[in-house]
């Protein structure tokens, strides 16, 4: 294993913009590389990405391997995988990190299987043991337990959850090396993108404030009460799974194990009892507020603030109070 050295991060881009999870990976990758006394490199695939590359250096990378080609503009799992596998075989990093995004969770397993190495999914923390092995910590069984995982092959690969690691402060004086790589051209990957469009108006995983409704809502129309509060706070509306299954609101609003994992600054759960599946999707929010009539509802166990009461009474009053406060500030 001695021949494997260094930490490598996969930088993800969409529309030529680097995904913020990549900077978070560089933050954690930098810590690990410093602890091991090795280099932090980064691989980026895309088209006309030259302007973005220095950002990766400003956020902690020592070396960037850049594949810049029209065929890499959009994600193609075969083309991305093949070039990264070639690079990893050349560079032999001991640790390889990807974001646990749709893209990372589709690409990572292919790279790992091609390299016949282990991959740990959706890590929320990475540590080192005394021998310099990576300890990968991930939630299992809806977050009821945390598994600490080690990998005996190299590179040790992990996908890391978005919004968990800290990115470093941008330092535009940092210097690094940019290496333009020639790609292995794959004429036909077996896939061809015909069309690409925005998935929906709401991206709940990016929201800073979420006001969510659950079974305490009596009819689909009542989401408008929550929407009013969300609008007032500059947030978006979320939902627990039953209401999505009933067709009351689109799945893009769903928070929970089979929906979206969110980590907003403020999560307001209205009429949500807090099933393990729902908690798995929102328990890492900075501040959790719960409104529920049932004092024994599990949601109160994870809440910072709870109101035992009917959301139909509490939410309108909250709206009033917040309006009053806002006006005070304005006047």
């Amino acid at each position: 294993m001695g021949e494997f050295k260094g930490v490598m991060v996969f930088a993800e881009q969409e529309d030529g913009k680097i995904h913020p999870v990549s900077y978070e990976l560089l933050g954690k990758g930098r810590d690990i590389a410093d602890k091991l006394g090795v280099e932090l490199s980064c691989v980026l695939l895309g088209f006309q990405m030259k302007n973005e590359v220095s950002e990766l250096i400003y956020h902690g990378a020592d070396k960037i391997f850049l594949y810049d080609h029209p065929s890499l503009e959009n994600f193609d799992v075969i083309r991305y995988k093949q070039n990264i596998v070639n690079l990893v075989k050349e560079e032999k990093p001991e640790i390889f990190l990807l974001g646990a995004t749709h893209l990372g969770r589709s690409l990572g397993p292919r790279i790992a299987a091609a390299l016949k190495t282990g991959l740990t999914a959706d890590c929320i923390d990475l540590k080192m043991d005394e021998e310099g092995n990576l300890i990968q910590i991930r939630p299992a069984f809806s977050g009821n337990i945390l598994a600490h995982i080690k990998t005996k092959t190299r590179p040790q690969m992990s996908t890391v959850r978005y919004k968990v690691m800290e990115k470093r402060e941008r330092d535009p004086t940092r210097k690094g090396e940019i290496i333009m790589k020639n790609l292995e051209v794959i004429e036909d990957s077996g896939m061809k993108i015909l069309k690409k469009e925005k998935a929906g108006e709401v991206n709940i995983t990016e929201a800073n404030i979420i006001v969510s409704g659950g079974r305490g809502l009596k009819k689909p129309d009542d989401f408008k009460i929550l929407r009013e509060l969300a609008d007032l706070l500059g947030g978006v509306v979320g939902s627990s799974r039953p209401l999505v299954d009933e067709g009351w609101i689109k799945r893009e609003h769903q928070v929970g194990f089979s929906g979206n994992t969110v980590k907003p600054k403020l999560y307001v759960a209205c009429g949500i009892s807090g099933s393990p599946q729902h908690l798995a999707g929102m328990r890492d929010s900075d501040v959790i507020v719960a409104i529920n009539t049932d004092p024994s509802a599990p949601i109160f166990k994870v809440a910072d603030y709870g109101i035992i009461g009917d959301l139909y009474e509490v939410v309108p009053k909250l709206i009033d109070e917040i309006r009053k406060n806002k006006n005070k500030v304005l006047s």
């Binding site: 893209l103 945390l146 995982i149 393990p276 507020v289 109160f300 509490v314």
Partner: protein, 306 residues
């Protein structure tokens, strides 16, 4: 130059035969159809399915940090039921077959019976003590070895993840072992024909419409369909159906047995801890809603910055 994909011999020969057919002129295809040879249009689907504990019921030993599997009923992984439903719908439209493959302990047979009742034609359970303790790499290798042995198929469908492992890695890893393309997080199948598939999938903020050539693999989300419930009659019929049991010996022709199970697993869990629910203020307000709302707003003004 390195070959486009590391195609396994079974695949390349199958693909070549298929390419030859596809490259025929339109007239030829019409002629084939006229002659009543419709076998070509039938799609053979493989669905991968795992039996999991019902996570709504499952209990944890919080001291030992272990899972008490006896505390919960076992059921087919819910996401895999969407995969199965997608496969059965394709079969109903195009003809062909749906074969369900699972790896697990002998008890996983019940999940496969359930799959047969829901419309699968054939069910194979890979069970062997040597398959035990497998991580995603060993699991995907074992499943891929079985798929190679099965041969003749057009599309593999998996659920996006399992509710117990929650990795979502087995599907893409199977595709890599087989050297075939895959698309993850599929929410719709627009076209499904012998010469290719048109697939709607999500990557980040975008929906992609992608043409996927056979043989391909997709992992599906819950959005793709509503799995049907098996009728009592189908359940009874499935109870008597045969579940084929394959052991490690059945797969070793072409597969390396040291890649199965714990032997073939590079990752291992060395410790389990219980997450601490720490740092929560846990302030609960009771009383009339007016007072609560006021106190409440006072309390987290800092958070709201209003």
């Amino acid at each position: 130059m390195i070959p486009r994909l590391a195609l396994y011999s079974f695949y390349s020969s199958y693909f070549k035969a298929y390419e030859t057919k596809r490259n025929r002129k339109w007239g030829d295809i019409a002629m084939i159809r006229n002659s009543g040879d419709t076998a070509d249009e039938r799609l053979n689907i493989i669905v991968l399915l795992k039996q999991v504990p019902d996570i709504e019921e499952v209990k944890f030993d919080t001291e030992k940090g272990t899972l008490d599997r006896s505390s919960a009923r076992a059921e087919p992984n819910p996401f895999d039921l969407n995969a199965l439903e997608a496969g059965v719908q394709i079969k109903e439209k195009s003809g062909g077959t749906v074969t369900v493959v699972s790896m697990g302990p002998p008890q996983a047979e019940s999940a496969l019976r359930d799959a047969l009742a829901r419309g699968a034609d054939r069910a194979i359970l890979l069970t062997d003590k040597n398959f035990g303790g497998a991580d995603t790499l060993a699991t995907s290798y074992t499943l891929a070895s079985a798929i190679k042995k099965l041969g003749n198929f057009d599309l593999i469908i998996c659920g996006e993840k399992t509710v117990d492992g929650d990795t979502g890695q087995v599907g893409p890893e199977v595709a890599e072992h087989l050297g075939i393309p895959h698309i993850a997080y599929v929410s719709e199948i627009k076209k499904c024909e012998k010469d290719g598939f048109v697939i709607v999938s999500q990557v980040g903020e975008y929906c992609y419409l992608t043409e996927l050539k056979p043989i391909g693999l997709i992992t599906v989300t819950k959005d793709i369909n509503q799995p049907r419930l098996p009728s009592l009659r189908d359940k009874l019929k499935a109870r008597k159906s045969e579940i084929e049991i394959w052991s490690a010996d059945d797969l070793t022709n072409g597969a390396e047995s040291n890649k199965f199970g714990i032997m073939g697993s590079p990752t291992s869990v060395y410790k389990i801890t219980i997450p601490s629910v720490e740092g929560r203020r846990g302030k609960i307000f009771r009383g009339t809603s007016d007072e609560s709302a006021k106190k409440f707003v006072e309390e987290f003004k800092k958070v709201l910055k209003v």
